[in-house]
Protein backbone atom coordinates (compact mmCIF):
# COMPACT_ATOMS: atom_id res chain seq x y z
CA UNK A 1 0.00 0.00 0.00
CA UNK A 2 2.82 2.40 0.90
CA UNK A 3 2.08 6.04 0.28
CA UNK A 4 -1.44 5.17 -0.82
CA UNK A 5 -2.28 3.72 2.57
CA UNK A 6 -4.29 6.68 3.91
CA UNK A 7 -6.40 6.82 0.78
CA UNK A 8 -6.83 3.07 0.80
CA UNK A 9 -7.89 3.11 4.43
CA UNK A 10 -10.38 5.91 3.84
CA UNK A 11 -11.79 4.09 0.85
CA UNK A 12 -12.08 0.89 2.88
CA UNK A 13 -13.94 2.80 5.54
CA UNK A 14 -16.29 4.03 2.84
CA UNK A 15 -16.86 0.46 1.73
CA UNK A 16 -14.84 0.49 -1.50
CA UNK A 17 -14.22 -3.08 -2.56
CA UNK A 18 -10.96 -2.24 -4.29
CA UNK A 19 -9.59 -0.95 -1.01
CA UNK A 20 -10.52 -4.10 0.85
CA UNK A 21 -9.00 -6.18 -1.92
CA UNK A 22 -5.78 -4.20 -1.68
CA UNK A 23 -5.59 -4.66 2.06
CA UNK A 24 -6.38 -8.34 1.75
CA UNK A 25 -3.76 -8.98 -0.93
CA UNK A 26 -1.17 -7.16 1.10
CA UNK A 27 -1.82 -8.78 4.46
CA UNK A 28 -3.54 -12.11 3.81
CA UNK A 29 -0.34 -14.04 2.95
CA UNK A 30 1.59 -13.11 6.11
CA UNK A 31 -1.49 -13.52 8.30
CA UNK A 32 -2.22 -16.91 6.79
CA UNK A 33 1.44 -17.87 7.23
CA UNK A 34 1.36 -16.79 10.85
CA UNK A 35 -1.76 -18.87 11.45
CA UNK A 36 -0.23 -21.84 9.62
CA UNK A 37 2.93 -21.54 11.66
CA UNK A 38 0.92 -21.52 14.87
CA UNK A 39 -0.38 -24.95 13.93
CA UNK A 40 -4.03 -24.58 13.02
CA UNK A 41 -5.61 -27.34 10.99
CA UNK A 42 -7.85 -24.91 9.08
CA UNK A 43 -5.78 -21.76 8.76
CA UNK A 44 -7.92 -20.33 5.96
CA UNK A 45 -10.96 -20.23 8.21
CA UNK A 46 -9.09 -18.44 10.97
CA UNK A 47 -7.71 -16.01 8.40
CA UNK A 48 -11.20 -15.28 7.18
CA UNK A 49 -12.29 -14.57 10.73
CA UNK A 50 -9.35 -12.22 11.15
CA UNK A 51 -10.24 -10.14 8.12
CA UNK A 52 -13.91 -10.08 8.97
CA UNK A 53 -13.01 -8.67 12.34
CA UNK A 54 -10.76 -6.14 10.62
CA UNK A 55 -13.75 -5.00 8.57
CA UNK A 56 -15.93 -4.87 11.65
CA UNK A 57 -13.46 -2.97 13.83
CA UNK A 58 -11.93 -0.67 11.26
CA UNK A 59 -14.01 2.33 12.42
CA UNK A 60 -12.20 2.05 15.75
CA UNK A 61 -8.71 2.02 14.25
CA UNK A 62 -6.45 5.04 14.17
CA UNK A 63 -2.84 5.09 13.03
CA UNK A 64 -0.45 4.70 10.14
CA UNK A 65 0.37 1.69 8.03
CA UNK A 66 2.78 0.19 10.56
CA UNK A 67 0.18 0.54 13.25
CA UNK A 68 -2.39 -1.03 10.97
CA UNK A 69 -0.14 -4.00 10.30
CA UNK A 70 0.49 -4.52 14.01
CA UNK A 71 -3.23 -4.15 14.66
CA UNK A 72 -4.12 -6.81 12.12
CA UNK A 73 -1.62 -9.27 13.63
CA UNK A 74 -2.90 -8.51 17.08
CA UNK A 75 -6.36 -9.46 15.85
CA UNK A 76 -4.92 -12.62 14.33
CA UNK A 77 -3.29 -13.55 17.59
CA UNK A 78 -6.50 -12.95 19.50
CA UNK A 79 -8.41 -15.08 17.03
CA UNK A 80 -5.90 -17.87 17.48
CA UNK A 81 -6.27 -17.69 21.24
CA UNK A 82 -10.06 -17.75 20.91
CA UNK A 83 -9.84 -20.63 18.49
CA UNK A 84 -7.57 -22.52 20.83
CA UNK A 85 -9.92 -21.98 23.77
CA UNK A 86 -12.90 -23.01 21.70
CA UNK A 87 -11.19 -26.20 20.64
CA UNK A 88 -10.15 -26.88 24.21
CA UNK A 89 -13.76 -26.71 25.34
CA UNK A 90 -14.77 -29.20 22.68
CA UNK A 91 -12.12 -31.90 22.84
CA UNK A 92 -14.58 -34.57 21.69
CA UNK A 93 -14.74 -33.08 18.24
CA UNK A 94 -11.01 -33.00 17.83
CA UNK A 95 -9.51 -35.58 15.61
CA UNK A 96 -6.76 -37.67 17.12
CA UNK A 97 -4.54 -36.56 14.31
CA UNK A 98 -5.38 -32.91 14.72
CA UNK A 99 -2.36 -30.87 15.55
CA UNK A 100 -2.28 -29.41 19.01
CA UNK A 101 -0.93 -26.13 20.19
CA UNK A 102 2.77 -26.26 19.66
CA UNK A 103 2.71 -28.07 16.38
CA UNK A 104 2.76 -26.73 12.87
CA UNK A 105 -0.05 -28.07 10.76
CA UNK A 106 -0.13 -28.09 7.00
CA UNK A 107 -2.55 -29.81 4.73
CA UNK A 108 -1.47 -32.54 2.35
CA UNK A 109 -1.91 -30.16 -0.53
CA UNK A 110 0.28 -27.61 1.11
CA UNK A 111 2.86 -30.26 1.85
CA UNK A 112 2.86 -31.29 -1.77
CA UNK A 113 3.29 -27.72 -2.82
CA UNK A 114 6.07 -26.93 -0.48
CA UNK A 115 7.76 -30.30 -0.69
CA UNK A 116 10.70 -31.09 1.41
CA UNK A 117 11.40 -27.48 2.24
CA UNK A 118 7.98 -27.17 3.77
CA UNK A 119 8.37 -30.29 5.80
CA UNK A 120 11.72 -29.17 7.09
CA UNK A 121 10.43 -25.78 8.06
CA UNK A 122 7.49 -27.37 9.79
CA UNK A 123 9.64 -29.69 11.84
CA UNK A 124 12.07 -27.01 12.88
CA UNK A 125 9.37 -24.58 13.95
CA UNK A 126 7.62 -27.35 15.79
CA UNK A 127 10.71 -27.71 17.94
CA UNK A 128 10.40 -24.17 19.31
CA UNK A 129 8.50 -23.18 22.40
CA UNK A 130 5.15 -21.47 21.87
CA UNK A 131 6.47 -18.04 22.83
CA UNK A 132 9.58 -18.40 20.66
CA UNK A 133 7.46 -19.50 17.74
CA UNK A 134 5.02 -16.65 18.28
CA UNK A 135 7.74 -14.02 18.31
CA UNK A 136 9.71 -15.43 15.41
CA UNK A 137 6.66 -15.87 13.21
CA UNK A 138 5.59 -12.30 13.85
CA UNK A 139 9.10 -11.18 13.04
CA UNK A 140 9.69 -13.32 9.96
CA UNK A 141 6.21 -13.39 8.43
CA UNK A 142 4.63 -10.31 9.92
CA UNK A 143 7.72 -8.19 9.38
CA UNK A 144 7.09 -6.48 12.70
CA UNK A 145 9.74 -4.78 14.78
CA UNK A 146 10.57 -5.80 18.33
CA UNK A 147 8.50 -2.95 19.72
CA UNK A 148 5.55 -3.80 17.54
CA UNK A 149 5.76 -7.47 18.52
CA UNK A 150 5.94 -6.43 22.14
CA UNK A 151 2.65 -4.61 21.78
CA UNK A 152 1.04 -7.53 20.00
CA UNK A 153 2.10 -10.21 22.48
CA UNK A 154 1.83 -7.87 25.46
CA UNK A 155 5.39 -8.39 26.60
CA UNK A 156 8.27 -6.03 27.12
CA UNK A 157 10.62 -5.37 24.20
CA UNK A 158 13.43 -6.93 26.22
CA UNK A 159 11.44 -10.12 26.68
CA UNK A 160 10.67 -10.20 22.97
CA UNK A 161 14.33 -9.74 22.14
CA UNK A 162 15.29 -12.57 24.44
CA UNK A 163 12.65 -14.84 22.96
CA UNK A 164 13.67 -14.21 19.39
CA UNK A 165 17.36 -14.69 20.22
CA UNK A 166 16.72 -17.97 21.99
CA UNK A 167 14.46 -19.10 19.19
CA UNK A 168 17.02 -18.36 16.53
CA UNK A 169 19.76 -20.03 18.54
CA UNK A 170 17.56 -23.10 18.82
CA UNK A 171 16.98 -23.16 15.06
CA UNK A 172 20.66 -22.63 14.46
CA UNK A 173 21.55 -25.62 16.61
CA UNK A 174 18.91 -27.74 14.96
CA UNK A 175 20.21 -26.91 11.50
CA UNK A 176 23.73 -27.68 12.60
CA UNK A 177 22.66 -31.00 14.06
CA UNK A 178 20.90 -31.77 10.78
CA UNK A 179 24.22 -31.37 9.09
CA UNK A 180 25.86 -33.60 11.63
CA UNK A 181 23.21 -36.29 11.41
CA UNK A 182 23.00 -36.13 7.63
Amino acid sequence: MGINFPQTLDAARAGAEWAWASIYRDLAPPVLGYVRGRGRSEPEDVTAEVFLQVVRDLPNFAGDERDFRSWVFAIARHRLVDDWRRRSRRPVHESLDAPSEGTVAMSAEEDALTGLAGERVRQIIQGLTADQRDVLLLRILGDLTVEEIARVVKKSPGAVKALQRRGLEAIRRTILLEGVTL
Binding site: Y24, P29, E44, A117, Q123, G127, I140, Q164, R165, T174
Partner: protein
Protein backbone atom coordinates in the same frame (compact mmCIF):
# COMPACT_ATOMS: atom_id res chain seq x y z
CA UNK B 1 14.69 -31.79 17.39
CA UNK B 2 15.16 -28.98 19.82
CA UNK B 3 17.96 -27.25 21.55
CA UNK B 4 17.36 -29.64 24.41
CA UNK B 5 18.32 -32.51 22.10
CA UNK B 6 21.59 -31.00 21.12
CA UNK B 7 24.61 -32.80 22.48
CA UNK B 8 27.08 -31.04 24.70
CA UNK B 9 29.74 -31.47 22.04
CA UNK B 10 27.73 -29.59 19.48
CA UNK B 11 26.98 -26.83 21.94
CA UNK B 12 30.56 -25.72 21.81
CA UNK B 13 30.11 -24.68 18.22
CA UNK B 14 27.39 -22.17 19.26
CA UNK B 15 29.52 -20.54 21.93
CA UNK B 16 29.52 -17.24 20.13
CA UNK B 17 26.25 -15.44 20.56
CA UNK B 18 24.69 -13.64 17.67
CA UNK B 19 24.98 -9.90 17.81
CA UNK B 20 21.86 -7.78 17.41
CA UNK B 21 22.97 -6.79 13.92
CA UNK B 22 23.56 -10.39 12.89
CA UNK B 23 20.26 -11.34 14.37
CA UNK B 24 18.41 -8.67 12.41
CA UNK B 25 20.20 -9.66 9.21
CA UNK B 26 19.37 -13.33 9.67
CA UNK B 27 15.75 -12.55 10.42
CA UNK B 28 15.72 -10.50 7.22
CA UNK B 29 16.88 -13.58 5.31
CA UNK B 30 20.38 -12.30 4.73
CA UNK B 31 23.59 -13.99 5.74
CA UNK B 32 25.79 -11.54 7.67
CA UNK B 33 29.04 -13.14 6.67
CA UNK B 34 30.64 -16.18 5.26
CA UNK B 35 29.82 -18.31 8.28
CA UNK B 36 28.05 -21.40 7.07
CA UNK B 37 25.66 -21.82 9.95
CA UNK B 38 24.40 -18.27 9.69
CA UNK B 39 23.91 -18.69 5.96
CA UNK B 40 21.90 -21.82 6.64
CA UNK B 41 19.93 -19.93 9.26
CA UNK B 42 19.17 -17.12 6.79
CA UNK B 43 18.23 -19.72 4.21
CA UNK B 44 15.81 -21.25 6.68
CA UNK B 45 14.18 -17.89 7.31
CA UNK B 46 13.71 -17.41 3.55
CA UNK B 47 12.26 -20.89 3.24
CA UNK B 48 9.89 -20.28 6.16
CA UNK B 49 8.72 -17.04 4.63
CA UNK B 50 8.19 -18.70 1.25
CA UNK B 51 6.52 -21.86 2.56
CA UNK B 52 4.30 -20.47 5.29
CA UNK B 53 3.62 -17.14 3.66
CA UNK B 54 1.99 -18.53 0.54
CA UNK B 55 -0.99 -16.48 -0.50
CA UNK B 56 -4.37 -18.16 -0.29
CA UNK B 57 -5.57 -19.70 -3.54
CA UNK B 58 -7.82 -17.68 -5.78
CA UNK B 59 -11.00 -19.42 -4.74
CA UNK B 60 -10.32 -18.91 -1.06
CA UNK B 61 -9.34 -15.29 -1.62
CA UNK B 62 -12.51 -14.62 -3.61
CA UNK B 63 -14.61 -16.20 -0.87
CA UNK B 64 -12.90 -14.14 1.81
CA UNK B 65 -13.26 -10.92 -0.13
CA UNK B 66 -16.93 -11.58 -0.80
CA UNK B 67 -17.52 -12.12 2.92
CA UNK B 68 -15.62 -8.93 3.69
CA UNK B 69 -17.67 -6.95 1.21
CA UNK B 70 -20.89 -8.31 2.66
CA UNK B 71 -19.81 -7.39 6.14
CA UNK B 72 -18.73 -3.92 5.03
CA UNK B 73 -22.16 -3.37 3.48
CA UNK B 74 -23.89 -4.66 6.59
CA UNK B 75 -21.75 -2.42 8.75
CA UNK B 76 -22.63 0.58 6.59
CA UNK B 77 -26.30 -0.28 6.82
CA UNK B 78 -26.08 -0.71 10.57
CA UNK B 79 -24.30 2.60 10.99
CA UNK B 80 -26.85 4.40 8.83
CA UNK B 81 -29.73 2.74 10.62
CA UNK B 82 -28.38 3.51 14.06
CA UNK B 83 -27.21 7.04 13.43
CA UNK B 84 -29.98 8.03 11.07
CA UNK B 85 -29.42 9.88 7.84
CA UNK B 86 -26.46 12.17 7.76
CA UNK B 87 -27.11 15.90 7.34
CA UNK B 88 -25.92 16.06 3.75
CA UNK B 89 -28.18 13.17 2.99
CA UNK B 90 -31.15 14.48 4.92
CA UNK B 91 -31.52 17.81 3.02
CA UNK B 92 -32.05 16.91 -0.62
CA UNK B 93 -33.78 13.63 0.00
CA UNK B 94 -36.27 15.07 2.48
CA UNK B 95 -37.04 18.02 0.19
CA UNK B 96 -37.72 15.65 -2.64
CA UNK B 97 -39.87 13.58 -0.34
CA UNK B 98 -41.87 16.57 0.81
CA UNK B 99 -42.42 17.91 -2.69
CA UNK B 100 -43.55 14.46 -3.82
CA UNK B 101 -46.08 14.21 -1.00
CA UNK B 102 -47.35 17.74 -1.66
CA UNK B 103 -47.77 16.99 -5.33
CA UNK B 104 -49.83 13.93 -4.54
CA UNK B 105 -52.05 15.85 -2.10
CA UNK B 106 -52.57 18.67 -4.56
CA UNK B 107 -53.44 16.25 -7.31
CA UNK B 108 -55.96 14.49 -5.07
CA UNK B 109 -57.62 17.78 -4.07
CA UNK B 110 -57.84 19.05 -7.63
CA UNK B 111 -59.27 15.74 -8.79
CA UNK B 112 -61.91 15.80 -6.06
CA UNK B 113 -62.94 19.38 -6.89
CA UNK B 114 -63.19 18.64 -10.59
CA UNK B 115 -65.23 15.52 -9.93
CA UNK B 116 -67.65 17.33 -7.64
CA UNK B 117 -68.01 20.17 -10.14
CA UNK B 118 -68.75 17.82 -12.98
CA UNK B 119 -71.28 15.92 -10.91
CA UNK B 120 -72.96 19.11 -9.75
CA UNK B 121 -73.20 20.49 -13.25
CA UNK B 122 -74.59 17.30 -14.64
CA UNK B 123 -77.03 16.98 -11.76
CA UNK B 124 -78.16 20.56 -12.18
CA UNK B 125 -78.77 19.86 -15.85
CA UNK B 126 -80.51 16.65 -14.92
CA UNK B 127 -78.53 14.59 -17.34
CA UNK B 128 -77.21 12.04 -14.88
CA UNK B 129 -78.53 8.51 -15.00
CA UNK B 130 -81.60 7.93 -12.90
CA UNK B 131 -80.16 6.44 -9.71
CA UNK B 132 -77.19 8.78 -9.73
CA UNK B 133 -79.42 11.77 -10.30
CA UNK B 134 -81.64 10.77 -7.41
CA UNK B 135 -78.70 10.24 -5.12
CA UNK B 136 -77.18 13.59 -5.99
CA UNK B 137 -80.53 15.30 -5.66
CA UNK B 138 -80.97 13.76 -2.22
CA UNK B 139 -77.62 15.02 -1.08
CA UNK B 140 -78.26 18.45 -2.51
CA UNK B 141 -81.72 18.46 -0.99
CA UNK B 142 -80.26 17.86 2.44
CA UNK B 143 -78.05 20.85 1.85
CA UNK B 144 -81.02 22.97 0.87
CA UNK B 145 -80.34 23.01 -2.85
CA UNK B 146 -83.11 21.91 -5.11
CA UNK B 147 -81.96 19.94 -8.07
CA UNK B 148 -84.11 18.51 -10.80
CA UNK B 149 -84.89 14.96 -10.06
CA UNK B 150 -88.21 13.25 -10.24
CA UNK B 151 -87.42 11.27 -7.19
CA UNK B 152 -87.40 14.34 -5.03
CA UNK B 153 -91.06 15.05 -5.59
CA UNK B 154 -91.96 11.41 -5.39
CA UNK B 155 -90.13 11.18 -2.17
CA UNK B 156 -92.14 14.06 -0.70
CA UNK B 157 -95.47 12.59 -1.78
CA UNK B 158 -94.58 9.20 -0.56
CA UNK B 159 -93.40 10.61 2.70
CA UNK B 160 -96.57 12.52 3.40
CA UNK B 161 -98.84 9.68 2.50
CA UNK B 162 -96.87 7.18 4.37
CA UNK B 163 -96.56 9.37 7.38
CA UNK B 164 -100.28 10.02 7.52
CA UNK B 165 -101.20 6.47 6.86
CA UNK B 166 -98.66 5.10 9.20
CA UNK B 167 -99.55 7.52 11.92
CA UNK B 168 -103.24 7.03 11.89
CA UNK B 169 -103.41 3.38 11.19
CA UNK B 170 -100.52 2.52 13.36
CA UNK B 171 -101.62 4.59 16.29
CA UNK B 172 -105.10 3.37 16.25
CA UNK B 173 -104.29 -0.22 15.77
CA UNK B 174 -101.47 -0.31 18.19
CA UNK B 175 -103.14 1.66 20.93
CA UNK B 176 -106.55 0.18 20.70
CA UNK B 177 -105.73 -3.32 19.73
CA UNK B 178 -102.65 -3.49 21.82
CA UNK B 179 -104.27 -2.11 24.93
CA UNK B 180 -107.29 -4.20 24.43
CA UNK B 181 -105.37 -7.35 23.85
CA UNK B 182 -102.85 -6.87 26.60
CA UNK B 183 -105.22 -5.62 29.26
CA UNK B 184 -108.83 -6.49 28.77
CA UNK B 185 -108.66 -9.41 26.46
CA UNK B 186 -105.95 -11.31 28.18
CA UNK B 187 -107.21 -10.69 31.62
CA UNK B 188 -110.71 -11.50 30.63
CA UNK B 189 -109.67 -14.66 28.95
CA UNK B 190 -107.61 -15.80 31.84
CA UNK B 191 -110.29 -14.93 34.30
CA UNK B 192 -113.05 -16.55 32.37
CA UNK B 193 -111.06 -19.62 31.69
CA UNK B 194 -110.14 -19.91 35.27
CA UNK B 195 -113.69 -19.39 36.34
CA UNK B 196 -114.95 -21.82 33.82
CA UNK B 197 -112.64 -24.38 35.23
CA UNK B 198 -113.85 -23.65 38.68
CA UNK B 199 -117.42 -23.74 37.48
CA UNK B 200 -116.77 -27.03 35.87
CA UNK B 201 -115.41 -28.28 39.11
CA UNK B 202 -118.52 -27.16 40.84
CA UNK B 203 -120.63 -28.55 38.06
CA UNK B 204 -118.86 -31.85 38.25
CA UNK B 205 -119.30 -32.00 41.93
CA UNK B 206 -122.95 -31.14 41.82
CA UNK B 207 -123.50 -33.44 38.93
CA UNK B 208 -121.80 -36.12 40.84
CA UNK B 209 -123.91 -35.44 43.81
CA UNK B 210 -127.03 -35.42 41.77
CA UNK B 211 -125.99 -38.56 39.99
CA UNK B 212 -125.29 -40.36 43.13
CA UNK B 213 -128.55 -39.37 44.71
CA UNK B 214 -131.07 -38.97 41.90
CA UNK B 215 -130.20 -41.05 38.88
CA UNK B 216 -131.69 -44.22 39.95
CA UNK B 217 -134.76 -42.61 41.51
CA UNK B 218 -135.68 -39.57 39.41
CA UNK B 219 -134.57 -40.62 35.89
CA UNK B 220 -133.45 -38.42 33.00
CA UNK B 221 -135.91 -35.59 33.50
CA UNK B 222 -134.90 -34.87 37.00
CA UNK B 223 -131.38 -35.29 36.14
CA UNK B 224 -131.55 -32.71 33.36
CA UNK B 225 -133.40 -30.21 35.48
CA UNK B 226 -131.21 -30.57 38.42
CA UNK B 227 -128.17 -30.50 36.29
CA UNK B 228 -129.08 -27.37 34.38
CA UNK B 229 -130.22 -25.49 37.34
CA UNK B 230 -127.35 -26.27 39.56
CA UNK B 231 -124.94 -25.72 36.86
CA UNK B 232 -126.23 -22.37 35.82
CA UNK B 233 -126.47 -21.11 39.35
CA UNK B 234 -123.08 -22.27 40.15
CA UNK B 235 -121.60 -20.84 36.98
CA UNK B 236 -123.15 -17.45 37.28
CA UNK B 237 -122.39 -17.00 40.88
CA UNK B 238 -118.88 -18.17 40.72
CA UNK B 239 -117.97 -16.38 37.51
CA UNK B 240 -119.34 -13.04 38.54
CA UNK B 241 -117.60 -13.02 41.85
CA UNK B 242 -114.40 -14.08 40.35
CA UNK B 243 -114.56 -11.63 37.46
CA UNK B 244 -115.22 -8.67 39.65
CA UNK B 245 -112.56 -9.49 42.06
CA UNK B 246 -109.87 -10.19 39.54
CA UNK B 247 -110.86 -7.28 37.32
CA UNK B 248 -110.52 -5.01 40.29
CA UNK B 249 -107.09 -6.34 41.03
CA UNK B 250 -106.04 -5.82 37.48
CA UNK B 251 -107.32 -2.27 37.45
CA UNK B 252 -105.62 -1.55 40.63
CA UNK B 253 -102.40 -3.04 39.28
Amino acid sequence: MTDRNASTGDMGRFARKLTDRELDQVLGGQAPDEEGDLQQLASFVRDARAVLGQAPDEETAARHLAAMSDMARDADTAVIASAGPTPWRRGPSSQRERSRVMSRKLLAIVSAVVLVGLLSGAAYAGVLPGPVQRAVADVAGNLGVALPGSNAENDIDEGEVNEVDDGQAGDIEQSQVGNFDEGATDDTDEGEVGEVDEANDVHDAEVGDVDEGDVDDSGEGELEDSDDGDAEDSDEGASKDSDDGEAGEDDGA
